[in-house]
């Protein structure tokens, strides 16, 4: 297979000016990251700072309600409240060892921004976070957290003013700051080697989940399910299970409002092959190859592309990708909160919603959902839904 590809997807479609830092990063992965010293330091960070291993939680009440044995991999219990910290600490450690002084990143829901700002503070590095202006408004709590952690948050006003445009601006910034700055890419998308790097740093989620589940149940789960925006939490959860053919891998995309023709964030379901942000994958695009605006109530899923490994897993038939709409996700948010005392991120609520929506087909099955983050940041958005339910 061609370097940097997963099947037909992946690659390095970037301006030539970005090739040197990508090659430098690839080199660092091949030398620094594989070293015992790095791996030991990273493992210690995950244990002592992130709080790994994260718990595997059985949901007795909801399982009883729906007739499906529901297990949650609790990435919401990580330091900073989401899976993103696994990736940012790994990349920050690598960047520090590469001699970089600054971390640069993009963020949608803000969790990657908070996690990068945290890693930068820990490593005594500077931090700059690009965030779509729409997301700055809808995730104001996380903006305040990032600033408290010492990061500069830049609101991006161009284009659709969401994650896609934040990535554009971060890539532009990286062109001019590459000598001192590492782009701490937040998801398993973008040009090679980012999809591979982020997958490797998030694979701890699936490795732990597999071990914990087998220890508790003496067998593998029937289904592993995770929400997919760029796809980092899903690829992290899936990776250790890919060789286990009995395990059905299910990614869940955001169908937006769910109305026919609405803007959505479901390129694996509704997109076509194309190139965006340095990688060939599935995209929401017009016939002319212009990138379409996306929408999801979950800012972290609001992206018109997806990581290339998901496109390859879909093409190979190894994973299936469903979708749920905003209302279904909000319902799952409320249901999990009320029945299990766990407030999930709106992103993760999409994965829970898929289980709820498909419960009739999953009767008696053992389903492991990667709960990628916690929902505190989404309280403003869902407030009116909770009010309606009182």
């Amino acid at each position: 297979m061609k370097k940097g590809y997963f099947g037909d997807y992946g690659g390095q479609f970037v301006p030539e000016l970005l090739m040197p830092p990508l090659l430098e990063l690839e080199q660092a992965m091949d030398t620094i990251m594989v070293s015992k010293e790095f791996q030991d330091e990273f493992a210690a960070l995950l244990k002592e700072c992130v709080g790994r291993p994260s718990a595997l939680t059985f949901c007795p009440n909801l399982s009883h309600d729906i007739g499906v044995n529901l297990w949650l991999k609790r990435e919401d219990l990580n330091h900073t409240g989401a899976h993103k910290i696994n990736n940012t600490l790994g990349q920050a450690l690598l960047a520090k060892k590469m001699g970089k002084k600054m971390l640069l990143t993009e963020t949608g829901a803000g969790m990657n921004g908070v996690a990068t700002a945290t890693a930068a503070a820990m490593m005594d590095m500077g931090c700059k976070v690009y965030m779509g202006a729409v997301d700055v408004e809808r995730q104001s709590l996380n903006v305040r957290r990032m600033e408290l952690l010492g990061a500069e948050v830049v609101a991006v006003e161009s284009g659709t003013r969401t994650l896609k445009d934040a990535i554009n601006e971060a890539l532009r910034c990286w062109i001019s700051t590459q000598e001192t700055t590492h782009y701490c890419f937040g998801t398993a998308a973008g040009p090679h080697p980012f999809p591979l790097l982020v997958r490797e740093l998030q694979a701890v989620v699936g490795r732990e989940a597999r071990m914990q589940y087998v220890e508790r149940n003496g067998a593998l789960p029937d289904v592993v399910c995770a929400c997919v925006g760029g796809g980092s939490n899903a690829i992290g959860a899936f990776h250790a299970f890919v060789p286990d053919e009995s395990v059905q891998l299910v990614g869940v995309e955001a169908a937006g409002t769910g109305e026919p023709g609405c803007f959505n964030s479901a390129p694996l379901n509704l997109g076509t092959d194309g190139v965006l942000h340095g990688t060939k994958s599935k995209l929401l695009q017009t016939d002319d190859g212009q990138i379409m605006p996306s929408h999801s109530v979950a800012a972290g899923l609001d992206y018109p592309g997806v990581g290339p490994e998901h496109a390859a897993l879909q093409a190979a038939g190894r994973a299936i990708y469903g979708s749920v709409n905003d209302e279904q996700a909000l319902n799952a948010f409320k249901t999990l909160s009320r029945r299990e005392g766990i407030i999930p991120a709106l992103e993760s609520s999409h994965a829970v919603a898929w289980v709820l929506e498909n419960a009739d087909k999953l009767q008696g099955k053992n389903v492991l959902v990667n709960l990628s983050g916690r929902g505190d940041k989404d309280m403003d958005i869902v407030e009116h839904v909770l009010d309606q339910g009182e």
Binding site: F13, V14, M19, P20, I175, D273, Q290
Partner: protein, 256 residues
Amino acid sequence: MSVSPLNTKIREANAKGKVALVPYLPAGYPTRERFWEELDKLDAAGASVIEIGMPFSDPVADGPVVEAACLKVLEDGITLQWILDGLRERKGRYNAALLLMGYLNPVLQYGPERFARACAEGGVSGLIIADMPIDEAGFLTDALKPHNVELIPLVGLNTSRERLEMYAKDAGGFVYMVSVLGTTGQRDSLPARVKEKLAEVREVFDIPVALGFGLKHPDQVAPFAGLMDAAVIGSALISHIEAGGDAASYMDIWTS
């Protein structure tokens, strides 16, 4: 192999002791009608190569001026088909060689083979794809070659000697040296490293060398006499038109 019109036109200007001018204008800017008028004016004012921008929704190599112009023309409904149809209707009209510049995805969706054929039918001699390093370019050069359309290499201050040599191997037309580690857009001054890198690029390539990104005034390229053959000017031209000027008055700055 025949010499590319891009090479010939630049050399014609050089033979007169001038740096060849390569103005960039996004297709459909400032309006559908005026775009073709401005193209005529650029041609009449002595442009050696005219670089026509193919708008893309997510132009990561471009600065705010080009991005805003591209988003505006996309809102006006400009498509790749509109550009290629317009050029086909006007084939043979321009003294300057024509070049299309944009990003890969619209070309991919159009179909590389079909695109290459349409370029040839529209009198387009070259193509710049900003997000296409040589490592990924094989399929596109294969499609372009039978139609004598050159894929122009974009190299920068940070491009290694090894990569310059990779680009030089099959390059025709000219090589485009990016003057800054950054996006398109006017700068008051260029980095000191430009001179040294231009000399290295000159050494590796045996085709004309164009300097672009950040240029707004001929004084900026004066220090590089003998090291560069052409100057690419984009954001400054767009800003000039935005401020009420036209292509002819902008070209006066560079030709007077």
